[in-house]
Symmetry: C2
Amino acid sequence: MIERTLDPKTAKLVDDMLQGNARALARLITIVEEDGEDAHLVLGQLGPTGRAHRIGITGPPGAGKSTLVNRLTSCARQNGLRVGVICADPSSPFTGGAVLGDRVRMTEHSMDEGVHIRSMSTRGSLGGLPTTVHGVIELMDASGKDVILVETVGVGQMELDVMASVDTVVVALVPEAGDDVQAMKAGLMEIADVFVVNKADRPGAESLLVGIRSMLDLVCHGDGWRIPVLATQAENNIGVEDLYQQIWEHRRFGLESGSFEERRAHQRHDEFTAALQKMVTHQFMQTVAADPQLAACVTRMNAGEISPYEAASEVFRTVSQKLR
Amino acid sequence: MIERTLDPKTAKLVDDMLQGNARALARLITIVEEDGEDAHLVLGQLGPTGRAHRIGITGPPGAGKSTLVNRLTSCARQNGLRVGVICADPSSPFTGGAVLGDRVRMTEHSMDEGVHIRSMSTRGSLGGLPTTVHGVIELMDASGKDVILVETVGVGQMELDVMASVDTVVVALVPEAGDDVQAMKAGLMEIADVFVVNKADRPGAESLLVGIRSMLDLVCHGDGWRIPVLATQAENNIGVEDLYQQIWEHRRFGLESGSFEERRAHQRHDEFTAALQKMVTHQFMQTVAADPQLAACVTRMNAGEISPYEAASEVFRTVSQKLR
């Protein structure tokens, strides 16, 4: 393996980004999104990060998450903080319009130099944030943002992983909800640091608030944090200031109790494992491709003669022995 | 590495399962779900699989997927086919009841020996199917099922992966849908082989049907399959027989055009890569844990002295050189 270093142009981008240059940040995010070798080189050169408070906003479809993110951005700006926003961009040839409508609400911040908004493209456009979101958070942090807001649809493993890489998880729900949403709620309960019942002017809001609060009474929190359950109407800017305060309250609590640092340590370890896994697998696959005997094994598997699991075992055995 | 083989008890389970024993199948699914070393040993001993037609049912929350799966199971049984059903079990201490209500609908098949229903437990209970679902499909196939129905909530990367491992993807939508669901639809469009507008007696069904059909007119299909857009009312058993026929029509078309085999080859390759990745990472992590110098590097990373990406690069470099 030849040791690689960043080319001078990209190294310059890193320097510029660390000085707070927005264009350099945007270009480095693209490099990290591409998830190639340069991505790891860039991320390896950021120096210590972790200054920014990282907030995840999740919840079922239609909970008004984008509007909440928009309002929270305004709160942070009014307090003089620099904000990074990361959201999934489920754009597609089919429904550009419908989705754009959602994103357009963020335009009031798009001319503000203190706000960097990034819609991450999603593989397959199912609306989930990709694993590279961790690296993008690191970049925004290194570039001097004080607050990073990460919005995700909150269903599925990927979202769970994303939410595990923030400091405070805000779960937004809305009064109306079907069976599946009920099920989702159960999962969301487990990751919430702050609960929001948005669109709280709709019928059923009060009983949802009561329901969540009584469920939460049953939950034991390791660190002693009492999960607040707030009512908001983000569209009308009602209750958002309170939500904003509760997020900072959660940070203060975590810093005092030690749970903040504990969570960060977990995150660092997860990122380490994921990065290592990518590197290792990449090299292993190159070895397989370059070896005629192993390539033959793959061919037999492709032809359906042996199962994928048999082929994987055989290849692993062979390469492991060679490396010995 | 010591070569391991299956213990006699598990080997007996594999034999029994291949003879169609339901209890053996259930126990082997549990082993595969646990995703340990035995899982790969079991999957490596199934022999050739791939006889069953694998159908994925996905769509946004509340689209009536469980009811559709239930009705399709009845159709298959009426045609004398053996059916395997795999669904996510988003059970949780909080909402067991709400979710159970959904599952209970399948009880009409629970006494039928020709139907094997498996709710897979989900990490974090967010309702997504785990990666081990591929192995469970293989097991059900090997045990002699003719049709395998996989139900998933259809949001996020995990679901996309699951849908990539079936032969026919049915996407179910319902007339009412918010912004996020619109966005999801875009992603779902890309994976659908058959579209269903369920609860088609509700307002807006007709315009949704027209909308989907006109969107689909813009899509170019590599294999020439014309994606049908059907109206169903699964609850009232209306339109399901037609859906069932279209699924088989899709299979016939794929077998003739070659797209069926092409898809299967892709799936085999993906499973191979995933299995290999697990094995390799596992061994690599063991090496790291056993080496004091590498462990020290991890400690520095845990303490925040170096970034996870720097630590991963250093560990990878060191281990690669040792293995050389």
